[in-house]
Amino acid sequence: MKKIISLITAFCCMAVFTACKKKNDRAITPADGKLDKCTLRFSWWGDDERHKATLEAIELWNSIHPEIEIISEYGGWDGWTEKVSSQMSGGTEPDIIQINYDWLATLSPDGDSFYNLNDLSKQLDLSGFDKEILSFGEVDGKLNAVTVSVTGRGLFYNSDVYENLGAEFPQTWDELISLGDIFSQNGIYPLDLDIQSGGTAWYLAIVYVQQITGRDFISMDGKLGFTADDIRMALDFYKKLEDHGVIRTIQTRTDEDGNAALYQSPEFIEGNVAGVLEWGSSVGKYEAVLPEGALKTGPFLTTEDGTSSGWMIKPSMLYAVSGNTEYPDEAAAFINFLLNNSECARILGTTRGIPASRYAHESLEQNGLLTGLAYESDSMLDNLDTVTISPYMELPRMKEFYNTAIEQVSYDLCDTKTAADEMYTSVSEYLDRLK
């Protein structure tokens, strides 16, 4: 019996290792510059609007290129990361993948999992993109993915509440804090920050510190730019917001909202919490639960002397081509169509944010599709001296470190210095380990 068991064990071990290794044995198919007849798989996540628009765009593609058939694989956001990461580890991923920004760091840490799009310039026209925006998709000098749209978090306020209290949207950090003092007399909070998956609490705190110190929190290649003192400054700032009633404490917030997002919270819907820090590309959800026209874009906060740097941008999503694809030219041609074709741009509209490609942007402008809060906020950001969010900053593990520190400070479990030191150690250790 023992023999049988040990035999089985040995067999399984072998199976595990061959399974894990198999992927790397595959050779990369070089580009030949021609478009052959083939079928390509394309996967994305999204909501109904995005699905509808994308399916329509694919129909258009099929009428132009009937020889290259696109098979669409799509679903909701829940579980999508799990799905794609299993596909990537099994080597069964689709040819063209819509990816999230931080997947570059987790799924392609050395830049080899995705096709180097620089090799496909014959089919993929990148002339419509800023150099800086293109660099978002680079890993180790290889262009792993192309940015579909760029977004940043902006401040949006419930203007009804502000009008009722006779208050103006804050321009500077100091104004924000004094608003807290005024609003709290009415039991209202001018802003909301969270430590859930959004993690806006830490986001605003680093914008503040970046603006004051001029240092970036984490560099694009994953080096920690803040000192422990900078982190402490960020935590102190957060605590100050709580103390002045600008935001609810974590305990109050959790008691009132449970685990729900702010746009599902009665406190926000009824106007007891009157502001939110959100990606331009996601603000529609907040707009929809307030009376029409109530949610308005606020100015990006500055210091007293008008320094406005430190606000951040990132690609809201990117397109990548699998390193295992057998049809790189065809995949590149399809991405090119999605990004640059003006007819396609009209169909897709802003379902993937405000397009980063100049050609698509122009098409939307001509068709009058560039309106609304998302566009307002993103174009205001365009005029600021922004910092690009490092893909490392967005890693789920890093978010856990930030949120733990903020939670500890909010629940008064330790002072900001201890929390800052702890966070400094865990963040730098983790970043080292990823290298």
Binding site: D257, N259, R397
Partner: protein, 297 residues
């Protein structure tokens, strides 16, 4: 051992039983042993979703020992199971007794009582729980009615675990069904005889019902313990593991490490520790009940 006698009906060889359980043996090798061994091997590597796995021996287990998050999660999980399992058994047995009565419309009631289990941690349940337990939710309004001070349910790390326990307690359906099936197996004559002897409801419950279904109580105990120790979905949906990790179970930790942080190596190592903890709990239960049986005979 060599000349063991197999107690089988006449004409049945010792291999008939093996033949009957052969699907299980094949299934075990393919769907249990193979992934187990994979996971054991992976638990000793630093496997992530990209790159070559490297063998690192017991490193993951060492990390776990020194990890405060792991210790806390284990504590939360044990506390959760220790409170939930006995309560759930009692509640589901009581409702099963109630649903075993022969009254009109019993089918409707049976279905109604099972519905929470169908809902699982559905969105509706998440929103319902918010209406119940948030700061000015129904429960707090109710408490205030009686002059009690409102409780901070979601935000207080000492209270948050109880709203999850309540959710799972409310979903007692599957346990109840197994009890119900067992109750139906008790021969009616036993109760009739008891009635003739002048036994009341409560006495016949203790002297007939309980002994008759004690094996099923044991199965439910085991099954509920296993599923409570592996809990992950309810805290994931209701509290997200917070506040201050007070509802962060080992099941959630494994899921997060595996899929959110893509640390498959570590996640598999933690799974083995959880496996050991569950095995220990179940083993103890077998030991205790086994000894009792022997004492009695």
């Amino acid at each position: 051992m060599k000349h063991r006698q197999y107690k089988n009906p006449v004409g049945v060889g010792k291999y008939t039983g093996l033949l009957l359980i052969s699907p299980f043996i094949a299934g075990f090798i393919l769907f249990t042993l193979y992934p187990f061994v994979c996971s054991f091997v992976l638990g000793m590597t630093d496997y992530r979703s990209a790159g070559e796995p490297k063998f690192i021996g017991l490193e993951n287990y060492k990390t776990m020992l020194s990890s405060e998050n792991f210790r806390k999660a284990l504590g939360v999980t044990l506390k959760y199971a220790a409170i939930l399992v006995p309560l759930k058994l009692i509640v589901s047995l009581l409702t099963a007794l109630l649903l075993n009565l022969e009254i009109k419309g019993i089918g409707f009631f049976r279905t109604a009582f099972y519905i929470p289990s169908i809902l699982g941690a559905n969105l509706a349940v998440v929103i319902m729980w918010q209406y119940l337990f948030t700061a000015d939710g129904l429960v707090n309004q109710f408490l205030e009615l009686f002059g009690a001070s409102p409780v901070s349910w979601y935000g207080n790390p000492d209270a948050s675990i109880y709203i999850i326990i309540l959710l799972r307690l409310w979903e007692f359906g599957s346990t109840m069904i197994i009890f119900l099936a067992a109750l139906r197996d008790i021969p009616r004559e036993l109760y009739d005889a008891a009635k003739v002897d002048g036994c009341g409801c409560i006495r016949s419950f203790f002297s007939i019902t309980l002994p008759q279904i004690k094996k099923v109580i044991f199965i439910n105990l085991i099954l509920q313990t296993i599923s409570a120790l592996q809990e992950f979905n309810a805290p994931y949906m209701i509290t997200g593991g917070g506040p201050l990790r007070s509802t962060y179970t080992v099941g959630m930790l494994i899921y997060d490490e595996m899929f959110k942080y893509s640390e498959a190596g570590y996640a598999n190592a933690v799974s083995w520790v959880l496996f050991a903890v569950i095995a220990l709990a179940v083993g103890l239960m077998y030991l205790v009940t086994g000894r009792r049986e022997r004492d009695r005979s």
